[in-house]
């Protein structure tokens, strides 16, 4: 019983696959999945241990649009992680092919210094498990630009992300 509880905990606390951004020689953006025996992942990768998913560069993402500025400035402050999602949600998102992924090493980041420690800090604050490079997923607008924040991949799981719009007032905090 004790063993069962420990293994269940391990299952919850670590994701069985890794996600990483890749930029090819032809400047194409891809997400690399390393499955580490995760069944869903292997199935997604068509029985391979690893695979890549092409992610089209989104419109106006290489710039300092209001949405991009907001994303990098407000990461971890207004844009925060919320409930843990089922792993299926992650693969459904990839299959939908209408997402934008960003990390603290994102090439899209023309707002703050590339891979700066303050930006790393903001992204790392999204994961409680010290994930080195959390991958944040946004949707796309009808015009193909950066849309609303959706989720974050941490090593311990896939979490929903929300844009805060409520804060308790000082007296409510007390």
């Amino acid at each position: 019983m004790k063993f069962l509880i420990i293994s269940l905990f391990l299952n919850l606390s670590t994701f069985a696959f890794q996600v990483e951004t890749i930029w090819t020689e032809k400047a194409e953006k891809k997400l690399s999945l390393t499955c580490e025996s995760d069944e869903q992942c292997v199935r997604f990768c068509k029985d391979q241990e690893a695979c890549t998913v092409t992610e089209d560069v989104c419109k106006n993402c290489v710039g300092t649009s209001l949405a991009m500025t907001f994303a990098f400035k407000e990461m971890g402050r207004t844009l925060v992680a919320s409930d843990k999602l089922d792993d299926y949600a992650f693969f459904d998102l990839l299959k939908g092919n209408s997402f934008v992924s960003i990390t603290s090493r994102s090439i899209y980041n023309l707002v703050e210094r590339f891979d700066s420690s303050s930006l790393k800090q903001k992204f790392r604050s999204l994961c409680a498990d010290d994930t080195r490079y959390p991958v944040v997923f946004f949707g796309k607008t009808a015009g193909g630009e950066l849309g609303r924040v959706q989720a974050v991949w941490c090593e311990s799981g896939f979490y929903e992300m929300i844009q805060l719009d409520y804060l308790p007032t000082e007296d409510q905090l007390d």
């Binding site: 930029w23 020689e25 032809k26 400047a27 194409e28 953006k29 089209d56 560069v57 989104c58 419109k59 106006n60 993402c61 290489v62 710039g63 300092t64 649009s65 209001l66 949405a67 500025t69 907001f70 400035k73 407000e74 402050r77 207004t78 090493r105 090439i107 899209y108 980041n109 023309l110 590339f114 891979d115 607008t141 009808a142 015009g143 630009e145 950066l146 849309g147 609303r148 844009q163 805060l164 719009d165 409520y166 804060l167 308790p168 007032t169 000082e170």
Partner: protein, 916 residues
């Protein structure tokens, strides 16, 4: 091995890029215009334009790509910048070549004019597209057209296929041979601009004299230091920006006995180029090759913020239109001025409480033109100028974005966390029940000041009659511009935000008016002006008082917890993590946030591209919008039109002692721009009669004081039916009226206000100023005067400007090669040649002219040296040929004229490749 791999890579790239090229370059004639002619010209389409490219975003992205992949950062970034520039000029060249060979149709720039044939589907698509919103139908439409254009079909087949997409059947929809001069080369020419020089003399002066012509000639001699080939990236030293000159030579302006051609098709040409460029940059398969190996990355660049097309001179790239967006777009020229950074605080465009883009039109009606208004000459190189312009623009855009994000965050949190009723309750608590509950408590000096700020700021911003934004908000809440900009980051609609602000403001104002003012702000009360929020000190005190609002908040937070803050605040103690410190801060910040949304809407076209096309402001011609808006009439002087003018009191000032005492022009509607003739005849001032006249007197004296020395006829009118009738004067009228029934005000002069009348009649002050007699007073007035003075000075300048002869349209044209060859032949520009050259004609001897004409037709370029014989063999040295060209000419002359026969011309074998 590594070198071999690099070599193979470069070879591979070369073969891919080889199929596209940047356009070639040839100097074109310079069109000079005086003010009135420049105004007229703005209604015609340009044939020459500057392409301004900022590759900061592209370079940053490639730099990050290189870092990410572990590539050689310097090499990769340099290559990326070259590829970015190459893709843009090559794509423009490709679009041009397709437009002039019927491989792309012209897209009509105006679907409402009723002139020319407008294909049905196109009209439908364009009428559906809304400004500030993504228009999918347009991308689909352009995709259908571009797919055909990219096929390896003959132009004839493509023409038939375009007809299947939309009914492109008319001559209006294509540029053809008929639109060009006979045997003309239909190329678009392109040059990289190293320096602005006399070869852009049309931007620096009006009527060229002998000295100017000599300078133009000298500039031709050293043109290699001014221009480089568009593909010569070694010459393009600046890694942030690049300026190119694009020319469309040999287009027919008019057809004999037929309707005009370029005048009709020119705007459609530029409109098409801008639309196709925006589309093709992201979706064209050709772009992948041009940008290789960065194609997919470049597709993500906001092209419309990196590239701008600007007419070279007085003509325009889009049809004249008088609307807020065009005005805002043209406000962009502020960023090009050398003193931008120094003046930035004063500029309406960066003001936290702007008057709007029409402000410049009202305050500066007769600006200079063609006298290097954009300070091109103040910079060492064209790139330095562009770097400064582009840097100022992007920094300002960043500032507006920062304000917008702050505003959106404030409304996102305040509307959900503290509803209006709750905020009002908290305000009442903060001011010890004085504001709403009518308690008789005592306020500390700080609390008195805080209450004063709250009442003043809300009164000024949200007064039901005099608010400078209230009426606009009703219109703006329906505008989708800010909504479009902020939709991906905002949880609250603009309409909801404005509603919150209005409800709160009405309640605060009503509470403030009910206060027993003298009990709170008694004789001992000393207002600390530095505690006002920055927009208020900027607007009311014209930045003469520096706001210390943020410092005061930081001080407050040292001993108090913030009312609303991010959880991060407890650790960071950073004021940026605070939404609002207390109730009055929350309330006052809603005004600030509303103003941010308001100013972003007003100037949206300046900072963002609201349509799916590259921007094209009339950078060098401030008369484009003045003519379109009929503020300036190019024929004014010629027709001796009488005019009158409404001067905009705007929101000139408020008293230092009375919260929110406002007077304003009653007639001027927000964003109203109209012609002199249509403008209201005079200015009017209204007072908020709820305030005591003594306080008003103080404010009036402060603002009108400087005018006391101005000859001024004061009269009083007591006509209740038409209180403003007295002010029908020629010249300027300064007026003050009140027609309220129960709180009338007698104003006898600027410094003499009589007791209030309680009867139902109207009182007016009018002060007639005479332009001629006020000149001396205005010239000697000090700088330390109220805003009214500047308005009057503006009018005096208007009058003075209109007296000058430049208001009769005049133009001149000079071909730089003509100037150069004249100097080459005579050693200088002879005085006798000045007139001839200014008419765009050469001034050579008959044989020199014959040889020059022939060479320009077959090779282009210009003659550098003439060694001609009047009878027999001679030679000339040509700019495109290293060896002398042998000529045989025979001149025959009479007393009045001479003619020349060019019998033979031998082009050296080495130079035959240069033949057209």
């Amino acid at each position: 091995m590594k070198y071999l791999a690099s070599f193979i890579f470069i070879l591979l790239c070369s073969s891919i890029w080889g199929s596209f090229e940047a356009p070639r370059f040839e100097l074109q004639k310079l069109d000079f215009s005086n003010r009135a002619k420049c105004a007229l010209e703005s209604q015609k389409p340009a044939k020459s334009a500057f392409l301004l490219v900022s590759n900061v975003d592209a370079a940053k992205a490639v730099y990050r790509l290189a870092k990410f992949r572990g590539d050689d950062v310097e090499e990769t970034t340099k290559l990326g910048i070259e590829r970015f520039r190459f893709s843009i000029v090559s794509l423009i060249n490709l679009i041009h070549n397709r437009l002039v060979s019927r491989q792309l149709p012209l897209l009509p720039s105006d679907i409402t004019s009723g002139e020319g044939h407008i294909p049905g589907r196109y009209k439908n698509v364009m009428s559906q597209c809304k400004q500030g919103e993504y228009c999918e139908a347009l991308d689909e439409y352009l995709q259908d057209i571009w797919t055909i254009a990219s096929q390896k079909w003959s132009p004839g087949t493509k023409y038939l296929e375009f007809f299947k997409v939309d009914n492109y059947h008319s001559e209006d929809n294509y540029l053809s041979d008929k639109d060009y001069l006979k045997d003309a080369n239909k190329e678009l020419t392109c040059a990289y601009l190293k320096k602005f020089s006399p070869l852009q003399a049309n931007l620096f002066g009006t009527k060229p004299d002998k000295g100017a012509l000599e300078m133009i000639a000298d500039a031709v001699a050293s043109k290699d230091s001014k221009f480089a080939h568009c593909e010569d990236f070694d010459s393009q030293e600046n890694l942030q920006v690049a300026a190119y000159e694009l020319n469309l030579p040999d287009l027919k302006e008019k057809k004999l006995f037929r309707k005009e051609t370029w005048v009709n098709k020119g705007f459609d040409y530029w409109h098409s180029l801008r639309l196709y460029l925006s589309f093709a940059f992201r979706f064209a398969p050709e772009m992948e090759k041009m940008a290789f190996p960065f194609g997919p990355l470049f597709k993500g660049i906001t092209l419309e913020e990196s590239v701008m097309l600007v007419p070279n001179g007085c003509r325009s790239l889009s049809p004249a239109k008088c609307d807020g967006d065009r005005l805002a777009l043209n406000s962009i020229r502020e960023f090009a001025k050398e003193d931008f950074k120094k003046e930035a605080l004063e500029l309406d465009i960066l003001s936290e409480a702007p008057n709007g883009p029409d402000d410049d039109l009202v305050n500066d009606m007769i600006p200079s033109v063609n006298v290097d208004e954009l300070d091109l000459a103040a910079h060492r190189s064209a790139s330095d100028w562009l770097e400064s312009f582009s840097g100022n623009l992007s920094q300002s855009r960043a500032l507006i974005k920062k304000r917008l994000i702050k505003a959106v965050n404030l409304f996102n949190f305040v509307t959900t966390s503290i509803p209006v009723e709750s905020l009002l309750k908290r305000l009442d608590q903060q001011f010890k029940g004085k504001l709403l509950s009518g308690k008789n408590s005592t306020l500390s000096l700080q609390e008195k000041n805080d209450l004063y700020y709250l009442c003043s700021e809300f009164s000024f911003a949200q007064h039901e009659k005099w608010s400078f934004i209230r009426k606009n908000l009703e219109i703006l809440s329906k505008s989708k511009v800010v909504e479009g900009l902020t939709s991906s980051i905002s949880n609250v609609s603009t309409e909801e935000s404005f509603k919150y602000f209005m409800t709160l403001g009405d309640a605060v104002n009503s509470a403030c008016y009910s206060l027993k003012q003298h009990d709170i702000w008694d004789e001992d009360f000393d207002l600390d002006k530095e505690g006002f929020i920055p927009w208020y000190t900027a607007k009311i005190y014209e930045n003469k008082v520096k706001s210390k609002y943020d410092e005061r908040l930081e001080e407050y937070l040292k001993s108090n917890k913030p009312l609303l803050a991010f959880p991060q605040y407890s650790a960071s103690k950073n004021i940026d993590d605070v939404i609002c410190a207390n109730a009055s801060d929350c309330a006052r910040k809603t005004i600030e946030a509303t103003l941010s949304l308001y100013s972003a809407t007003q100037y949206a076209s300046t900072f963002w591209s609201l349509e799916q096309k590259v921007k094209s402001p009339d950078l060098f011609n401030p008369y484009a919008e003045r003519t379109a808006c009929k503020v300036y009439d190019p024929w004014f002087k010629t027709r001796s039109t009488l005019f009158s003018f409404l001067w905009d009191m705007g929101q000139t000032a408020a008293s230092a002692f009375v919260p929110g005492m406002i007077y304003t022009s009653a007639e001027l509607q927000p964003r109203m721009v109209t012609s002199f003739n249509e403008l209201v005849k005079d200015g009017k001032i209204e007072y908020d009669v709820r305030y005591k006249k003594e306080k008003i007197l103080t404010a009036i004296t402060a603002d009108f004081g400087p005018l006391t020395g101005v000859p001024c006829a004061v009269s009083l009118n007591r006509n209740p039916n038409n209180p403003y009738s007295v002010m029908r004067f020629t010249g300027i009228s300064v007026g003050a009226c009140n027609s309220e029934t129960d709180h009338d005000l007698n104003v006898y002069s600027a410094s003499d206000i009589g007791p209030n009348n309680q009867t139902g009649h109207s009182e007016c002050l009018s002060c007639r100023l005479n332009f001629e007699s006020m000149s001396g007073v205005v010239a000697h007035a000090t700088q330390n005067v109220g805003p009214v003075f500047f308005l009057v000075r503006g009018l005096y300048n208007l009058y003075k400007s209109l007296k000058d002869p430049y208001n009769i349209p005049r133009s001149w044209e000079v071909h730089p090669y003509d100037a150069y060859e004249t100097k080459a032949l005579y050693g200088e520009i002879p005085k006798s040649c000045v007139k001839q050259l200014r008419k765009g004609k050469s001034c050579l001897s008959s044989c020199a002219e014959k040889v020059s004409e022939k060479l320009r037709a077959i090779i282009g370029g210009h003659v550098e040296e003439f060694n001609l014989s009047t009878y027999g063999k001679g030679s000339v040295k040509h700019s495109s040929c290293s060896e002398p060209i042998i000529t045989e000419t025979y001149e025959s002359s009479s007393d009045t004229s001479s003619s020349c026969r060019l019998k033979k011309m031998i082009i050296p074998g080495k130079c035959k490749g240069m033949l057209k």
